[in-house]
């Protein structure tokens, strides 16, 4: 029987914080960021300066905090329009016109922390608690990989001894081992990303050895005073720095794809945006590797969680659009995840702002995929989701807008990771792989899972892409066609 109190006591290793600080100082300078924001309140932006900043973004350079503060000032509709155009161009240059899809899989809702904004907090007695066992994980994956057709998951764990590193490792192995016969081939999850509590270096090495995709930890809020308020000090999560240096530990452990994020609505969005960029700059400086992805969830209603109604920092749709736009411009090489927390209409619009990853057929209740729930049960979920489209519906809607859905998981299976992928992203070479792999993997998905309507519009997109490849990359085109035919003849999991 695990002693939870003992477990909690031994989680934080001070040396695994202190070794990363600069003379005891961390990389979020609250006073300086506040001063940038105050300055942004006072002065109008200079269009010439804004255009110089946009040129830096177009050259796939990370913006400085001062540049980001300048962008925050912009309210002129024409300049915003220019920012949108540049954001879209950056997305095409770095990732082409593809969207990668994934599904979240919640493994348990036991948590030792008490975050004021979260439905899963320890003292929320109305939540039905549960952790999936191995058989239940297999059942979930059979639906995700065998019926819906996902190839990529983000698995989510609460901070609790019942979902500790050994459980995470076992669950990852379980997921990777599920293989399901489908219409014309077989379904399997090919990349598992993990969203979990901050870990120790030796635990991260265990996850690295299993073959984790991206390791994500969101800081929630970078603003220290707010952080202390929403995360009680007698909990593990109350330690700001332990969380802040999660990605440093992951990179030191050899996990070279890391994802950062903030929960928008806890504090002033401008502070969080500048801090996310500061986090990216810090990782680039210390490890030569920036964040593989950035996430920007907004607070959503959760069961028995009045804090959400009370906060004065809730982010409007207009500000949310600006957040995404500025992050796209500020960290141009990074993947940007827009989840189904947001409603369908807004997601349809925001995809043009440079989003690279979206989830679909999303269920966030524990065991909800194999339970086949068609409604949301708030007392089993962390929050309420806004876009309930199936993967087939999302793909069709994306295709109508000219986007190709990609199921590519090639990068981390042939070394396009860490500093290597940074160079490829910055030079636009990764965008070529994105295009080729999108065509191959999308064809595979259409054959195995698509409805008739989606297959028709999907094939139109593929034909357009093939014509473009033939024109722009005549040397590679024959190889693409060879792979394409092999997929049509029943081979699976081919990639560039």
């Amino acid at each position: 029987m695990i002693n939870v109190v003992e477990w909690v006591k031994n989680r934080i290793i001070d040396d695994e914080i202190e070794r990363y600080t600069d003379n005891g100082r961390d990389f979020i300078n609250d006073d300086y960021i506040e001063s940038l924001i105050n300055n942004a309140n006072n002065k109008k932006p200079d269009p010439k300066k804004i255009r110089d900043i946009l040129n830096k973004s177009l050259a796939i350079q990370t913006l400085s905090l001062e540049d980001v503060a300048e962008l925050i000032k912009v309210s002129d509709p024409d300049l915003i329009e220019e920012m949108k155009e540049v954001a879209h161009k950056i997305k095409l240059k770095v990732y082409d016109n593809r969207i990668v899809t994934f599904a979240p899989l919640y493994m348990g809702n036991l948590c030792v922390n008490n975050c004021l904004y979260c439905g899963f907090r320890d003292d929320n007695s109305i939540i039905k608690r549960r952790v999936l066992n191995i058989k239940e994980i297999e059942d979930e994956v059979k639906v995700l990989a065998g019926e819906i057709g996902h190839k990529r998951l983000i698995v989510v764990y609460g901070e609790h001894p019942s979902t500790d590193v050994n459980y995470i490792a076992k669950s990852l192995e379980t997921i990777y081992n599920v293989k399901v016969k489908v219409r014309n081939g077989w379904g399997q999850i090919r990349r598992v990303n993990v969203n979990a509590a901050p870990m120790q270096i030796k635990e991260l090495e265990v996850l690295r050895d299993i073959g984790i995709g991206t390791f994500q930890v969101f800081q929630e809020t970078y603003h220290k005073k707010t952080y202390s308020y929403v995360h009680p000090s007698n909990t593990i999560k109350g330690n700001y720095l332990w969380r802040l240096y999660s990605m440093h530990r992951a990179l030191e452990a050899g996990i070279d794809d890391v994802g950062i994020g903030a929960l928008f609505g806890l504090y002033d969005w401008r502070f969080e945006v500048i801090s996310l960029v500061a986090h990216a700059i810090e990782l680039e400086k210390k490890f030569g590797i920036g964040p593989h992805t950035v996430s920007f969830p907004r607070l959503e209603p959760a069961a028995n969680t009045p804090f959400i109604q009370e906060t004065r920092y809730r982010v409007s749709d207009d500000d949310f659009k600006k957040i995404i736009l500025i992050l796209r411009l500020a960290i141009p090489y990074t993947g940007m995840i827009l989840t189904a927390r947001e409603p369908k209409e807004l997601r349809n619009e925001l995809v043009d702002y440079g989003i690279t990853q979206m989830d679909a057929s999303t269920k966030i209740g524990i065991g909800a995929y194999s339970d086949r729930l068609t409604y949301q049960e708030l007392e089993k979920q962390q929050f309420e989701i806004g876009d309930t489209r199936t993967l087939d519906e999302l793909i069709r809607d994306l295709a109508k807008k000219g986007y190709i859905t990609s199921f590519c998981t090639a990068g981390y299976r042939c070394g396009r990771t860490g500093s290597s992928i940074m160079d490829l992203l910055r030079s636009g070479k990764e965008g070529v792989f994105c295009k080729l792999n999108a065509v191959i993997t999308f064809r595979e998905w259409l054959l195995d899972f698509a409805s008739k309507e989606t297959e028709e519009i999907g094939l139109e997109i593929i034909n357009k892409e093939l014509r473009e490849i033939e024109k722009r990359m005549p040397d590679i085109y024959p190889k693409v066609i060879e792979y394409y035919k092999r997929i049509e003849n029943g081979e699976r999991d081919l990639y560039f």
């Binding site: 073959g211 042939c414 500093s419 190889k479 560039f496």
Partner: protein, 88 residues
């Protein structure tokens, strides 16, 4: 021998191979389950699907274009890379 010295020697060796055999990208990855993390080498140049071959149970060599490398040379290359990695 320090790790840094060996990896940079390996990097240099792979650069030479890329030039000699006109193979474009040629790089070494370390295996972590399904994950293959870049260790050293010339990143993709020709942007064609790379050929992969095991150096040993922990490392994989990727070559974009191996058409100018015969069987004998391939064996020698793998052996040499293996010995670099032994000391890293």
């Amino acid at each position: 021998m320090g790790r840094g010295i060996c990896i940079s020697d390996l990097e240099q060796y792979l650069k030479e191979l890329s030039k000699t055999y006109n193979c474009g990208g040629i790089w070494i990855c370390k295996k972590f389950g399904k994950r293959l993390s870049f260790i050293a080498g010339v990143r993709p140049v020709k942007l064609i699907p790379p050929i992969s071959m095991e150096v040993n149970k922990d490392y994989v060599l990727f070559i974009e274009d191996d058409s100018n490398i015969d069987e004998n040379e391939r064996r020698n290359i793998l052996n040499k890379i293996h010995s670099y990695l032994l000391f890293s």
